[in-house]
């Protein structure tokens, strides 16, 4: 690839979201006729980089050049026009339209001002064939297709736009092995045809098979570029690690093995194609982490416990006794005593326009009410306790909760559930987007609750947190528990390696390695 003039180049690209820097002076060079893999752990800046390239977000600073000319993209349409087409992780198909409609959506063929359905059909069939998916009927509605087929339509749609640079962001994550093989054939052919392909994937074996060039991102920067195959998996993982430890974690107590039945136990939980035979148990006082890449079934597992999923197979036991949890209302009932701190506090955790007071007492209203009326005095006492315990900083209890900072909002969500004194606490990435100080307080709180006898299941996309907070970590991959790390085994290396599902001795656990 050396010597070829770069087709596309990004230099010094930075992007901040509020106080969070997603990209910090990142560079990337893309060459025609090659497949370039982008690697990095959760939150390393890969998604933002692609969004900048595809015209979805504008960078704060930096330049992009295409064919040696500087370019800026005001919209995804502008990037498409320039020949940059992206297949996003979240699908960009319109569910109620037909496959053919979707494939030509950005530039439908026209005749007498109306869409030419015959030509549209032809283009769609060609594109589907080119993507190796001619089994998909162009008249089928997208919403009726299973996820893996939709992904193939997405690829066909991208090809119909005749791209020069094709970006695939986790494009294979929903595909079956047979589809992946087909897609690889297609991608290699496109490379022969002179396209530049950017390939973002967490699957190391795919990268090994496909990529010519690799770039590793960490903390919003590109930290290394190398020819594919010139580094071992182990070295790649080392490159992806390397954040400074900035969090302070409370010490983990040494817990004696108790003979008591686990507070929460799951046996062979399966759901749809997202959970695959998950078994786990948590004892009183234990903090168990869920690790793995984002979207490997962690969220579904928490929802399964909380009674949100229907058609769940397998069993859930509380205190050793089988229970059936049919709704969040049943899950929070005193007999089970479960609480879920949701991932998106703005939609699932809080009613933003309502007051801090109202939000705090929502989950405990039944306990605070006598004959259907809320006991204002009892409510006030409990709220005071919680505001004190969590040190919630608010100008008053009667201001909208939306006016608080992100960290304090999250404290309100947690306090709301603590008002019920839950015995089982499920946390879904609770520290996302909150400041370091609040994070530390939450770590302390979590340990305090565990010491008081709660069983805690904690999903985090931040590996440092899993290492610092958890007694055990279960790593999920494709909806199944792939590894269980206990105590000193919980290292960043082991977490990343098992999250990527790398087999072999290099990536295996090494007891006692510095955490």
């Amino acid at each position: 690839m050396d010597g070829a003039a770069p087709l596309f180049r990004m230099e010094g690209i930075s992007k901040r979201y509020g106080g969070v820097r997603a990209l910090e002076k990142a560079d990337l060079t893309v060459t025609a006729g090659s497949i370039h893999a982008i690697l990095g752990e959760n939150g390393a800046g890969k998604s933002t980089l692609i969004k900048v390239m595809a015209g979805v977000v504008a960078p704060d600073e930096g330049t992009m050049t295409l064919d040696g000319r500087e370019v800026t993209f005001a919209s995804p349409a502008a990037a498409n026009q320039a020949g940059i087409v992206c297949i996003f992780q979240e699908l960009s198909l319109v569910p109620e339209l037909r496959v053919a409609d979707n494939i030509v959506i950005s530039n439908p063929p026209k005749r007498f001002g109306m869409i030419d359905r015959k030509a549209q059909r032809r283009i769609a069939e060609e594109a589907l064939a080119r993507a190796g998916a001619s089994d998909i009927h162009p008249l089928a509605l997208v919403k009726d297709l299973p996820l893996s087929r939709r992904q193939m339509v997405e690829i066909a749609k991208a090809l119909a736009r005749k791209p020069r640079i094709l970006i695939l962001d986790e494009a294979t994550s929903a595909l079956t092995a047979a589809d992946v093989a087909k897609i690889f054939g297609v991608l290699k052919r496109l490379r022969e045809e002179g396209l530049a392909l950017l390939y973002i994937s967490h699957r190391m074996n795919e990268i090994a098979e496909l990529a010519d060039q690799c770039t590793v991102f960490r903390n919003g920067r590109n930290v290394a570029s190398y020819a594919a195959g010139s580094k071992s998996d182990n070295e790649v993982v080392e490159l992806m690690i390397g954040r400074e430890y900035s969090h302070i974690f409370p010490p983990k107590p040494i817990r004696p093995q108790s003979g008591a039945a686990p507070v929460l136990e799951a046996r062979n939980l399966s759901w749809s194609n997202r959970l695959d035979n998950v078994s786990l148990s948590i004892e009183a006082g234990e903090v168990v982490g869920l690790g793995g890449l984002d979207g490997q079934g962690q969220r579904e597992l928490l929802l399964a416990f909380f009674g949100v999923l229907r058609g769940l197979s397998g069993r859930i036991l509380v205190d050793g006794k089988p229970v059936s949890i049919a709704s969040p209302a049943a899950a929070r009932d005193d007999r089970i005593g479960m609480a879920l701190i949701p991932e998106d506090r703005k939609t699932e955790g809080l009613m933003l326009p309502m007051t801090v007071r109202e939000n705090l007492s929502f989950a405990a209203l039944d306990r605070l009410s006598k004959a259907g009326f809320i006991d204002r005095g009892a409510e006030q006492r409990l709220i005071d306790d919680m505001v004190g315990l969590l040190a919630i900083k608010t100008a008053g209890l009667d201001i909208p909760v939306g006016a608080l900072s992100g960290g304090n909002q999250q404290k309100v969500v947690i306090a709301k559930w603590l008002m019920r004194q839950p015995r089982i606490i499920l946390l879904n990435d609770p520290t996302r987007g909150i400041d370091v100080g609040t994070k530390q307080e939450l770590y302390q709180l979590m340990r305090k609750l565990a010491d008081a006898g709660a069983a805690i299941l904690f999903y985090s996309t931040d590996y440092d947190e899993l290492i610092g907070c958890c007694d055990r970590v279960l790593v999920l991959y494709d909806g199944a528990v792939k590894r269980e790390l206990v105590g000193a085994e919980i290292t960043e290396h082991a977490l990343i390696a098992s999250a990527l599902n790398i087999h072999g001795e290099h990536a295996g656990p090494r007891r006692g390695e510095g955490a």
């Binding site: 319109v94 109620e96 339209l97 999923l309």
Partner: protein
């Protein structure tokens, strides 16, 4: 090739509405004292066509996942205008027609501009503009009155060849001239895409705003055509508040009966037309059975509830309960 199956699946809502209409109309005409005659059909058509136009208008907006609560008022406003303007010599009448239809377009465009560029919620924006349009109608016709070119009115509300109701033919022409090109145009598809998934549409570079704007504008035009026909039937203009509101609400019922999803992105104006005709027939059914007319709203409501419940069965298949709220 299994093309027809996909076609069938797509048209299910429309076909269901068609079926309901046929059954209702069969019951209606079988029990009508006069039986299935050209006269009965003509009267039924003239009543049904008004709601059909308003339902078409509503469909366009509902497809974009919006709602237009001003259609009934545009209908009323244009009725009042037509009772002043659509009269006199051929040229004067023609100019009057253009003015009335132009007003409808303009009202629709105002709705669209407020919703899309003003970023107001459609429900609030159109309640407000609807009140404005009704206010204008009141200014034009403080008391009912006026007249219309009777030759044109009789031509468009009579029968062709002694059997075919002219109003039905007019409806067909409007479908061919407005709906078919819209549904097959790039902007029409943009309207569907915006209603189904605005994010996906945006990410695909679809002209969402222009598509939605066109939908609102054409809705105004269709409501104005409805207003014209009301004038042709009644020969007068009347700023009737209750009637305008009833048409707005019935149009929503007709749209739902016709298989158009209130969540947007799905359905067709053809379905909505049959929904409107079926809804009207349900209302008239009681008369042929000699029930007290006081029962009509109750009966209509029950039938509507049953029909709409048919569409809610999909919720039983949802496996992640959070999807109920999406």
């Amino acid at each position: 090739m299994r093309d027809w199956r996909y076609w069938l699946a797509e048209q299910r809502g429309t076909l269901l509405a068609f079926g309901i209409f046929i059954v209702m109309f069969a019951i209606y005409s079988a029990n009508h004292p006069a039986g299935f005659t050209a006269n009965v059909v003509q009267t039924a058509a003239n009543k049904g066509v008004l709601l059909a136009f308003i339902a078409m208008a509503q469909t366009l907006v509902v497809i974009t996942a919006g709602i237009d609560l001003s259609v009934g008022m545009i209908f009323t406003l244009t009725n009042c205008m037509a009772s002043w303007l659509v009269i006199g010599t051929g040229l004067e009448t023609a100019l009057g027609l253009v003015a009335v239809l132009g007003t409808g377009l303009f009202c629709g465009a105002v709705n669209g501009a407020i919703v899309i560029y003003g970023r107001l919620q459609p429900i609030v924006a159109t309640i407000a503009t609807g009140a404005v349009y009704f206010g204008l109608a009141l200014l034009l016709r403080p008391v009912p009155g006026g007249s219309v070119n009777e030759g044109l009115a009789d031509f468009l509300t009579g029968r062709f060849f002694g059997v075919v109701p002219a109003s039905l033919v007019a409806l067909l022409v409007v479908v061919l001239v407005v709906w078919v090109p819209f549904s097959r145009s790039e902007l029409g598809r943009a309207a569907y895409a915006a209603g189904s998934s605005e994010t996906a549409a945006y990410m695909s570079g679809v002209p969402i705003r222009r598509g939605k704007f066109l939908a609102y504008t054409l809705a105004g035009l269709l409501a104005a055509i409805g207003g014209l026909f009301l004038t042709f039937f009644t020969y007068t203009g009347e700023a009737a508040y209750a009637s305008g509101n009833a048409y707005t609400l019935f149009s929503i019922a007709a749209v739902v009966l016709g298989g158009v999803s209130l969540f947007g992105g799905k359905g067709s104006a053809i379905g909505a037309i049959f929904g409107a005709l079926a809804f009207r027939t349900i209302g008239d059914l009681l008369f042929v059975f000699d029930f007290d007319p006081l029962w009509q709203p109750l009966f209509q409501g029950v039938i509507l509830l049953i029909a709409v419940s048919l569409g809610a069965f999909a919720l039983f298949r949802v496996r992640n309960r959070l999807e109920w709220f999406l």
